[in-house]
């Protein structure tokens, strides 16, 4: 079948391409709700390294999205099933290294086309069925939620068991999701959120305490921390975490920075800290995320609070409109209703 693909050919410029996709082995999904991620914006605005842009473009953006199955020869899904699409595509098995860390794995809207197309040809193994009554605007950004769930699950395996207080640095989408899931996955833990905007921090009503990063009490201590800041804010956030964390604490780094970040290794050594990175997620994380949606419906209600814009995309021109609107927002996710 001739499939229409909307690829970014240069910063701020989309083009229409066509490819022939097969009804043979894989599933065919009609995307219905797509969510714009900061990583998409870095390509769209051209803030990635010029060499990277030259290598990867033209490429269809978007790795967060849900859709409806229109065809599945394997019989795993019924026509009309609502599914979340997993953008990570493992190409080799490995008993030790998880699918999202394998160098051989591909990732939609990074090493291969993302979901901005009329249809997505995808393996049944890369789909997770959604509950029928799920809020699809929320389900659209399940991928970023699964990244938090993945980070928390790894933290659970790595960190020591004294978990009285966990600090989350950041007041953006990732910090919101991570602190929300920390409260649900570890109900006895006190979650403290550290951000730069009083207005944004006021949205974290589920957190036990919130602090402006300029007003952290000197004697405040946390057992473990999640860094969800990234970019230029990473160095200060990591510095503050190292200062306020108890010895032998574990620090989970989630924020993406385009530049190397200097960190205080003397204090890491002195306190015996563990720092681990997480990136992306795999099938198990998506499944666990959808389970948690069903188990705690209030999670989905809270997640609706970070929907910033909902854009009806009915034409090629609307795709650009959605990305431009997303650049103007201070907080929240931009969801595209994919009618094109």
């Amino acid at each position: 079948m001739i499939n229409t693909i909307y690829r970014l050919s240069a910063p701020r410029r989309f083009e229409i391409d066509f490819e022939d996709i097969s009804f043979s082995n894989n599933c065919i999904v009609r995307p219905t709700h797509l969510s714009i991620c900061n990583a998409d914006q870095r390509y769209y605005q051209g803030t990635r390294d010029a060499k990277v842009l030259k290598e990867k473009l033209p490429m269809a953006l978007i790795h967060e999205g849900v859709g409806e199955v229109v065809y599945d020869k394997s019989g795993t899904f019924k026509c009309g099933d609502k599914v979340v699409m997993i953008p990570n595509i493992p190409t080799q098995n490995d008993d030790i290294i998880a699918e999202n860390y394998r160098e051989s794995s591909k990732f939609c809207a990074s090493s291969t086309d993302g979901f901005m197309s009329e249809y997505v040809e995808i393996s049944a193994q890369r789909l997770v069925k959604l509950p029928d009554n799920i809020n699809l605007n929320v389900a659209a950004f399940t991928e970023i939620v699964s990244v938090s769930v993945h980070a928390i699950s790894r933290f659970d395996n790595i960190a020591h068991n004294r978990r009285n207080t966990i600090g989350v640095w950041g007041d953006g989408n990732l910090a919101f999701i991570t602190s929300l899931f920390l409260k649900k996955m570890f109900s006895d833990v006190k979650v403290c959120v550290f951000g730069i905007s009083r207005e944004k921090l006021s949205d974290f009503s589920f957190a036990d305490e919130t602090y402006l990063t300029t007003e952290i009490p000197e004697n405040l201590r946390i057992d473990h921390a999640f860094e969800c800041v990234g970019a230029n804010g990473s160095p200060v956030a990591i510095e503050q975490i190292i200062k306020h964390i108890h010895p032998e604490g574990t620090i989970s780094i989630l924020g993406v920075s385009e530049y190397p970040v200097p960190i205080n290794t003397r204090m890491i050594l002195e306190k015996g800290l563990r720092i681990f990175g997480t990136s992306r997620s795999g099938r198990a994380d998506f499944e666990k995320t959808v389970e948690l949606y069903e188990q705690y419906p209030e999670i989905v209600r809270f997640l609706t609070h970070i929907i910033g814009n909902v854009v009806e995309v009915n034409s090629f021109a609307d795709t650009k409109k959605a990305f431009e609107l997303d650049t103007q927002k201070a907080f929240g996710k931009t969801i595209m209703h994919w009618n094109i």
Binding site: M1, E19, Y71, E118, N339
Partner: protein, 237 residues
């Protein structure tokens, strides 16, 4: 119920030296008509996809569907009529005989040689036909349209902003379309170039659905070349 009606009645005598109807020419190693049928297969709304073929090409059409798509009871191949509109009437008769016809039965008629039709166009056709009874897929005219009634001099030049180029799908409430068609005189039928005109000459509203510039009809060898290049085929393919 909603039915797709794929019009493959033409024998393609505008395609130059080709010895088979243009819908059977291949792009990316697949007949054009298969690409087109697949677009309707991927849309969940259709009860049946009715392919109207010239009598002499029915077996061939069935065989290529079996070869490229596999056995599929959602697709049926039947014989087309003498004209485009008679072909559509054959489809409506088939629906009446096999599924029953009521006032809300919708047909989405589409040229078999427009494989670049999109999900959005099909979706909007179905919605418009359900709500308004009939619709036509169009794009704004980019060239100035010149009318000449004697093929020698210009009779008139209509204002371009009011001009559109018709594409397909054209979608209708099937029973109403047939009833009006049957009420036309032979002379009225002779001037019909497409199905939308059946309603227009009787003063019925036909809504516009935006098409796409690339929803091209592969009529001439030049179109085939464009279609191949859109799918990034090598020139010598």
């Amino acid at each position: 119920m909603v039915f797709s009606v794929i019009l493959a009645g033409g024998t393609g005598n505008r395609m130059g030296n080709t010895d088979k109807p243009k819908q059977f020419l291949t792009i990316k190693d697949k007949p054009i008509i298969i690409h087109t049928i697949e677009k309707f297969m991927a849309h969940p709304s259709f009860e049946k996809i009715i392919v109207l073929s010239p009598e002499m090409w029915i077996e061939h059409t069935k065989r290529i569907i079996s070869k490229y798509i596999g056995e599929c009871n959602k697709i049926v191949v039947i014989s087309g009529g003498e004209t485009r509109n008679e072909t559509i009437m054959n489809a409506i008769d088939y629906i009446e005989d096999n599924h029953g016809l009521d006032d809300d039965t919708i047909i989405v008629t589409h040229d078999s040689v427009r494989p670049f039709v999109t999900h959005r166009i099909i979706e909007e056709n179905i919605a418009a036909a359900k709500k308004y009874g009939a619709c036509d897929t169009v794009i704004p005219a980019t060239d100035t349209i010149v009318e000449s009634t004697d093929s020698t001099v210009i009779s008139t030049i209509p204002e371009r902003k009011n001009m559109y180029q018709g594409q397909t799908p054209q979608s209708f409430k099937a029973k109403n379309l047939r009833d009006i068609y049957r009420g036309l005189t032979d002379r009225q039928k002779d001037i019909l170039t497409d199905a939308a005109k059946i309603l227009v000459i009787k003063g019925e509203d036909v809504r516009l659905v935006p098409g796409e510039t690339y929803n091209i009809k592969i009529t001439y060898p030049y179109d085939l070349k464009i279609a191949k290049s859109l799918l990034e085929e090598e020139e010598n393919d």
